[in-house]
């Protein structure tokens, strides 16, 4: 198929999608035709809603690749010894799985998709502050993705350092690491620009009357996240540049042979990468804070406490990076300090859980798919969070460091937290984004299977880690066999659920029944515009009165 044919194919697909959807407003953002048509009309569009969907499609693609790699790893671990791949292939697989899932899926995650789509609407604006810069962020994201993919497909072998690129192996490994490192750098830059854009948007473009204390909580978490993106990402950016320079020229900064210190690399890496965990989870918490009051039809409990805890997490999250390095060689004083702060940062997260549960108390709960996802989010997030305290305690950490326990912990947080919140958000805002409703029975079935698969996949890893099974090995002792079989079966169940969810959503985006403006009876501003929203969101910029608020339920 030539490029021209391909483009016309895409155009036709979009046209078909559009001709079947008659939205409330004549020029909704899906139908609108600007300077270009078809695919070009999307990838050159500065409309924040289209950019949000561009991110959604590119991230969904990368997520599927990451899931397949994860599935392959679990299949390898079905039995001790070689099952489907050699040790080197396994090393490459977990590296690429990590790089894709961290840098391309969960870090851009909810801000890039739902932040882009909803932030301007939620604050009553027509677009973000810098629409062109917003489009540039997406282009940089795509460039970063292709750079990383180039590292896999060309050169002297797929990177095998793990997603952390630890020195000195990252400049000694014979694999093709440079494009991967550069790709991660570019992805970081894209993340910085998105954060910058959101900060200025929230500061400058709130509609009249929308005071800081009336902002929806999702916007607040985007605000906290944007600060972390802005202030933490440059640190990893320059660190990755240094690794690249070390590889090319041998400058010596991290090379012990030339006087450098590899531990310094770990510090600099985690100064970004720990706050990055909060980049992943804060917007997820924001989405849950939107969903729970809507489906409880009740004012969110402790609005200001949630804001305070969001900003506290963003701030204290900077100061705990050392807990990734308890066994790497650190002074006792530093260990106490990092351990103490790690325990402190758990408090604001617990405040949020308390507030969500209290919001449900005595609410008139409307049980729908997004609510199932939100409730299961709280469940898995608590398991993930509490196991994090086991890791944050110095004595216990020595015991379970670098074991399957750690893998279970961060999958419960990152996949269980951010992933579940992402699915909750897509099921919550789907009718707003596409103007159509998905099949609720299939959506609930998909959720149930996914949830069962998730718990079956990751729970045995807690046990395996406690028993001493190390992470990042393609082989294991016979005594770990039972737990691994269970875990692998879990991965199959999870993927079944995932396929059901995706098929249902993709099908419903073009063929689902049309839906009204506000199917869930939400109170935030995005529910006051037609579904799908018109090109510039509002015909008239809304005005927030003294008694209006984002969660004013009667």
């Amino acid at each position: 198929m030539t490029l021209k044919q391909y483009l016309s194919f895409i155009t036709n697909t979009f046209d078909k999608m559009n001709s079947t959807s008659i939205a409330a407003n004549e020029a909704n953002y899906l139908k609108y035709r600007g300077k270009y048509k078809g695919l070009l009309g999307w990838i050159f569009s500065t409309d924040h809603k289209r950019i949000g969907l561009l991110y959604l499609y590119s991230m969904a693609t990368m997520f599927s690749v990451g899931v397949l790699l994860g599935l392959a790893m679990k299949l390898e671990l079905l039995a001790p010894g070689k099952t489907i791949m050699e040790a080197q292939t396994y090393n490459a697989t977990f590296t690429v799985h990590g790089v894709i899932m961290i840098f391309m899926v969960v870090v851009p995650g909810l801000p890039a998709v739902f932040g882009n789509f909803l932030l301007p609407i939620m604050i009553g604006a027509k677009d973000v502050a810098f629409p062109k810069l917003n489009l540039l962020s997406w282009w940089m994201y795509v460039a970063g993705v292709f750079l990383v993919l180039a590292a896999l497909l060309f050169g002297s072998g797929t990177p095998d350092t793990g997603w952390t690129f630890y020195a000195p192996y990252s400049f000694r490994s014979g694999t093709n690491l440079l494009p991967a490192i550069f790709g991660a750098f570019v992805l970081g830059f894209s993340s910085i620009l998105t954060g910058l854009n959101f900060l200025v948007t929230i500061h400058r473009m709130r509609c009249p009357g929308l005071k800081w204390t009336k902002l929806p909580l999702f916007v607040w978490t985007l605000y906290g996240t944007a600060w972390i993106q802005l202030l933490a990402t440059p640190v990893v950016g320059i660190t990755l540049v240094l690794v690249a320079l070390e590889r090319i020229f041998g400058v010596g900064v991290f090379d012990p042979a030339l006087g450098g210190d590899p531990i310094l690399y770990q510090h600099l890496f985690w100064i970004y990468s720990h706050p990055a965990v909060y980049i992943m989870i804060l917007p997820a918490m924001g989405a849950i804070s939107e969903i729970i009051p809507t489906f409880a039809q009740k004012h969110i409990f402790g609005y200001k406490a949630i804001i305070a805890s969001t900003m506290a997490i963003a701030f204290v999250g900077y100061l705990v990076w050392g807990h990734h390095m308890f066994t790497a060689g650190m002074s006792g004083t530093a260990q106490y300090y990092f351990s103490l702060l790690t325990f402190l940062v758990a408090i604001p997260s617990a405040i949020k859980v308390f507030n969500w549960v209290s919001t449900m108390y005595k609410g008139s709960i409307n049980i729908q798919t997004p609510f199932y996802w939100a409730a299961s989010f709280i469940f898995v997030f608590m398991i993930g969070g509490l196991s994090g305290l086991v890791l944050g305690a110095l004595a216990a950490n020595i015991y379970v460091h670098d074991t399957a326990f750690v893998v279970a912990h961060f999958h419960y947080i990152v996949f269980g937290g951010t992933g579940f919140a992402f699915f909750a958000a897509i099921h919550y805002w789907f009718p707003k984004i596409f103007g159509r409703m998905y099949d609720k029975t299939w959506a609930n079935t998909g959720w149930l299977i996914f949830f069962i698969g998730f718990v079956t996949l990751y729970s045995p890893m807690f046990y395996l880690g406690m028993m001493g099974m190390p992470r990042r090995y393609y082989d294991y002792l016979q005594e770990f066999h039972g737990g691994n079989i269970l875990s692998t079966i879990g991965s199959w169940i999870l993927v079944t659920g995932f396929v059901i969810i995706i098929v249902n959503l993709v099908r419903s985006a073009s063929r689902g029944p049309k839906t009204e403006m506000n199917p869930w009876h939400g109170k935030t501003l995005e529910w006051t515009v037609p579904s799908p929203p018109p090109l510039e969101n509002f015909d008239e910029i809304p005005v927030i009165e003294e008694n209006d608020g984002p969660y004013n339920y009667k």
Partner: protein
């Protein structure tokens, strides 16, 4: 499908672009901040070697470059004022001087680096690994990284100023839409202030 409906986005908000630029400057400061942290750590560990290696650098050229950048910062600040006073010719002249001073800085840097290369001092060179101590290797490694990254920022700044000059010339940047020039000025000051820290750290401290 709908007929074409072209919506022109024209939300000019000088305040927003200024906030955006300041936020971007924060990220740049953190970028260099990490390098300054690395520098301090290694200087603390290898105090003697850093002292020894610093004597290799030419304080005179460094001082000249410092003066050049300070003057260029002044001229770009003056160009902003002249744009507000609607004097296009002087604005162009002042930004032009900034541009030339930036290029002179780079030329100096080129000869400075060239002299080091002639002495066999560059990252990964045989001379370095065989004759110098680890502390000195680190000093020169950091010297090339930090001044190199700074030079890259000078180049970006020069491109930015050239674009602004073109836009002033064609009338797209004027007294009522001065944000681009003001932001380029801010960026140029950032580049300047980083040099103000680099100069004493590498050339002066003994």
């Amino acid at each position: 499908m709908e007929q074409a409906k072209i919506v022109v986005h024209d939300h000019y908000d000088a305040e927003a672009s200024k906030i955006g630029m300041w936020l971007f400057i924060f990220t740049e400061l953190l970028l260099f901040g990490v390098l300054f942290v690395i520098y301090s750590v290694y200087r603390y560990i290898n105090h003697e070697a850093f002292h020894l290696a610093a004597e290799e650098l030419d304080t005179f050229v460094g001082a000249v470059n410092t003066v050049i950048l300070l003057v260029s910062s002044m001229t770009i600040a003056m160009s902003t004022t002249s744009l507000q006073k609607k004097n296009k010719t002087i604005t162009l002249a002042l930004t032009g001087i900034t541009l030339i001073l930036g290029i002179v800085f780079l030329v100096n840097k080129y000869f400075e680096w060239g002299a080091k290369f002639d002495h066999g001092i560059f990252p990964g060179s045989e001379y370095l690994t065989e004759n110098l101590s680890q502390g000195e290797i680190l000093f020169f490694g950091l010297y090339f990284i930090m001044t190199g990254l700074h030079a890259l920022h000078i180049i970006i700044g020069l491109v930015l100023i050239a674009v602004v000059m073109w836009k002033v010339y064609t009338g797209k940047v004027h007294a009522e839409r001065a944000a681009l020039l003001e932001n380029s000025g801010l960026y140029w000051h950032l580049v300047d202030i980083i040099w103000i820290f680099l100069f004493p750290l590498f050339y002066l401290i003994h």
